[in-house]
Symmetry: C2
Subunit: 329 residues, 2 copies
């Protein structure tokens, strides 16, 4: 049957609505794959389920895969699963806007004290607004008597340290532009235009920042990059934002720093993940925590499938792929 | 004694730290005024307490005031108090950045479902994150099955209707620029470059907007501008943001629309204000409520005093003032 059918066989998660695949090139056979399938299937190109546990169940039944088109930016689990003889390409960029928006939203929410105001809203007592002034003094360490009382902070004019300056880091910087922040940048290697410092400079830069954004890939070198020593170098009341990967931060050290009122944090990712019930992070003060949702907007799947369709078009024409994360041996 | 002292006498709220007045011109006598003062004082220029109730107590003891330099943008109470023979100038602009930031922060917070995630955080149950997907479907009315599940929305690409296009409205538009939103504008009178529609067009524009921002002055015409009919014209799940004045919205109609899950709202101002305990707004769903705090950042008083100092300098030189809201008869 393979001989009778010259069409490229492309397997995709059955959970994705077929009408989102309109964009795909002609001359292919689209095969919906369930993670509950019980028979083997021969395909050429595999679009794995965005949830790796489901994708792994499907993988057990796939034969003949030559190309993996991941819908996610993070493809950590794929090479060890499919082996070195398969090309892997990712949907780089599909998360950029949503993750950058989450990051800017988290920064503003924390500087505007919205978690506290939501608590006041639940209590239904207007005059509790003055708790915002007490919070301001406590978290920033300000001893100045201000009149009228300060009820929230401004982002405008603050110093933001971007740890990581890839596509999402640049997108965050673009969204911060109207706030005239001083941007400091750190990446694996130093660069110029704009100035990006080497990660070896991190400890020197941390004390200057009001906001520290982690937006670097998960690698052996980035694991534990922010430990107790780095948290101690942050300014009193500075905000740590992690929209990258949980293991970049030493969770135990972070819990201590939050409980001590030393810093604030906003996390979309944690270590461990999922965060188990009863974990001390859940109840830390000065924290906004979301459950790894920054990339999950209505625009994500269409964008990622558009990138996959483009990659597939190149593959069929024999052109080089754009987002290769592993070339087949 | 007045004859022996030719210096201009400038009264200011005693609660403001004197070192913030460094900027003030030489040749004046600065007189701190308490709202608990029990004797009359002769001054030329009055900087009222930002809280009008305190300012009114002080006013009862003031004699000879020729110029009022308000630190606030809103000066509604002043003309009737001081009468027509006094010039009134305001600190236009001192709230612009903070109020625009609050507005953008509120929009992002609501589109990212942070109030829901904070509730999930309090419960400490990771898998409750899927409630965000249920919320998305319910509030937007989406019947599409999306995979992976939608967990929050994007601001990028949405349509934002600015009702009011003064200094703060323009500032909000500037901060929204990186999100490539479609901006629609309404003001009292139509203008071009950029296109601003007359307020008579409001009902035609409301159905097009995902976000409706109220940032117009409180006037007899703006009272009740957003009533039941206007709320009914908004899209399912659209977000109403009020960072202007409470009476612009019909509170009863808003409570109904929120309870029915028809729209979302973020309010820094309410009618009545302060919102009494037990008022139905406190417990409305789909609502972020802060207690008239958008202008109260650490930068506010220094900025407002800087504007007042500039105005005072002009007054002393006999130059025209910049922010006159009432010229003395």
């Amino acid at each position: 049957m393979g001989l009778m059918n010259p069409m490229l066989r492309v397997g995709y998660p059955a959970s994705i609505s077929a009408d989102l695949l309109r964009d795909f090139p002609e001359g292919i056979e689209l095969i919906p794959l369930s993670d509950k399938m019980d028979h083997d299937v021969e395909i050429d190109v595999w679009i794995p389920d965005p949830y790796s546990t489901k994708a792994l169940r499907t993988w057990a039944h796939l034969r003949g895969v030559k190309l993996v088109l991941s819908l996610m930016a993070g493809t950590e689990w794929i090479p060890a699963t499919v082996g070195p003889h398969v090309t892997i390409s990712n949907a780089r960029g599909a998360h950029n806007i949503s993750t950058a928006e989450w990051t800017v939203a988290a920064i503003l929410t924390m500087l505007k004290y919205f978690p506290l105001y939501l608590e006041i809203q639940r209590s239904g007592v207007w005059k509790r607004r003055f708790e915002a002034n007490a919070y301001y003094k406590k978290i920033t360490g300000s001893t100045r008597e201000e009149y009228p009382p300060v009820m929230q902070e401004e982002l405008t004019g603050k110093t933001v340290l971007l740890v990581g300056h890839g596509e999402i880091g640049k997108e965050i910087e673009r969204m911060l532009k109207p706030f005239h922040v001083d941007v400091l940048r750190v990446a694996r290697t130093a660069r110029t235009q704009p100035e990006v410092h080497a990660v070896s400079e991190l400890d020197n830069l941390l004390p200057r920042a009001h906001v520290v954004v982690l937006i670097l890939p998960s690698t052996p070198e980035s694991k534990g990059l922010i430990g107790a020593a780095q948290l101690a170098l942050m300014r009193q009341g500075a905000l740590l934002v992690n929209s990258a990967r949980g293991p970049i931060v030493d969770t135990g050290a972070l819990v201590e720093a939050l409980k001590a009122g030393r810093i604030r944090a906003a996390l979309d990712v944690t270590d461990p993940e999922p965060l188990p019930e009863g974990h001390p992070l859940w109840s830390c003060p000065n924290l906004l925590l979301t459950e790894h949702v920054a990339g999950s907007t209505p625009q994500f799947t269409p964008r990622a499938l558009h990138t996959a369709a483009e990659e597939l078009r190149r593959y069929m024409k024999g052109e080089p792929l754009k987002n290769v994360v592993q070339a087949a041996l």
